[in-house]
Subunit: 223 residues, 2 copies
């Protein structure tokens, strides 16, 4: 049985990581920089959501985006088009970011003049949920085509997020077995404090509410 | 730096796993059981694809499904409705299956009378690609709503699959920025031998070709 060896190593990583994450959060508080950890499955619309968000908030605050991907630079290139600063982090095959990797990104990026930094985590509903990145808040996107049963299958991810955006709501007529009521009920059962917002990054639906949430969180952290 | 420690442990796991996987494949060959490892993002349509596949092949061969999930039994319950045998494997938080976990499932399930066993892996485009499960062939599903750029972002997954099903093709008119040509070109660049089949598990489009591929592979292995 190899289970014992694996579990020991994971535990030591988690303990170190929690300390690292708390330290990074303290540093960010001193620097008045709000770090948002944004997670989702591959293709749920993280980058499109960020583009829509940046276009609405860029005149009010300085925004930077750290794009984490196993490979490719396509997302960073897309974000730079919005006028926001961006860097691409290649994880070298790793399926998530931990606090140490996030700090390396933050220091390389140079975030002291930024009010809001968004970390676009690797597209994955499993592993990123296990590692505190040092972010101030966790957000995730679930897209309508993925189905309303996902909170049942990936409970940890839904449990650790402060806000859940249900994206691609413009396709609800095509994916007519997706129940907004059922998904919200399943999320709230796991995480009664989670804020659930129904959006479409394509049409802009729901972005007033999402941007109000973000605006208030950034203001509270950086005041 | 914790990198060294982590990499050492991962390497030893991979080496053990490769041996385990080869051994499991030998056992399955003796028992004339074909094991297919089916992978995808959360919500790409693995279970619906399996239902459509089982309904077409169940009179020709004995089929079993092993549903791997971090939590919940919803997929196994859905598969049992088709008349195929199914078990649910709970991974206890693990983001993938390795060969040892797969063998535990195979032995618990009792597969000696089955021609085709499908392992529905955890919904994740990253970690499952790193672990040989002992399957005879690897298949993956990419769904149209996820976008045609996914081979650029998750290259390992696309590199190790023998067949890639592009699912939810009935929604191509809604997701009109998805290019069938671009996605196939990106997959072939990573993996020239991969078979790419465009399907819709909802309408049955493309399932003749997919079932022909599967029928031939099972026949070759179990003869």
């Amino acid at each position: 049985m190899k289970d014992f060896k694996v579990i020991e190593v994971k535990r030591s990583i988690f303990e170190d990581n929690d300390k690292d994450a708390a330290k990074l959060r303290d540093e960010l508080k001193q620097e008045k920089t709000f770090l948002l950890n944004l997670m989702s499955s591959p293709g749920a619309g993280k980058t499109t959501t960020l583009r829509q968000t940046i276009s609405r908030l860029k005149d009010e605050m300085n925004i930077g985006v750290m794009e984490a991907d196993i490979d490719s630079d396509v997302d960073a290139a897309t974000i730079v088009e919005t006028g926001a600063r961006a860097i691409q982090i290649h994880t070298g095959g790793m399926c998530h970011l931990d606090a140490d990797m996030t700090r390396q990104g933050i220091r390389e990026f140079g975030t002291t003049d930024l009010d809001l930094v968004v970390l676009e985590n690797v597209g994955n509903l499993v592993c990123p949920a296990e590692f505190d990145t040092g972010s101030v808040k966790n957000a995730m996107i679930l897209s309508v085509p993925e189905g309303d049963d996902k909170p049942l299958k990936y409970p940890l991810m839904f449990s650790i997020c402060d806000v859940v955006l249900i994206n691609k709501c413009d396709t609800l007529s095509v994916f007519d077995d997706f129940s907004k009521e059922a998904v919200e009920e399943r999320i709230k059962k796991l995480n009664p404090n989670a804020k659930v917002i129904f959006v479409s990054a394509k049409t802009g639906e729901g972005f007033d509410e999402w941007c109000d949430w973000l605006r208030k969180e950034v203001a509270d952290w950086t005041k």
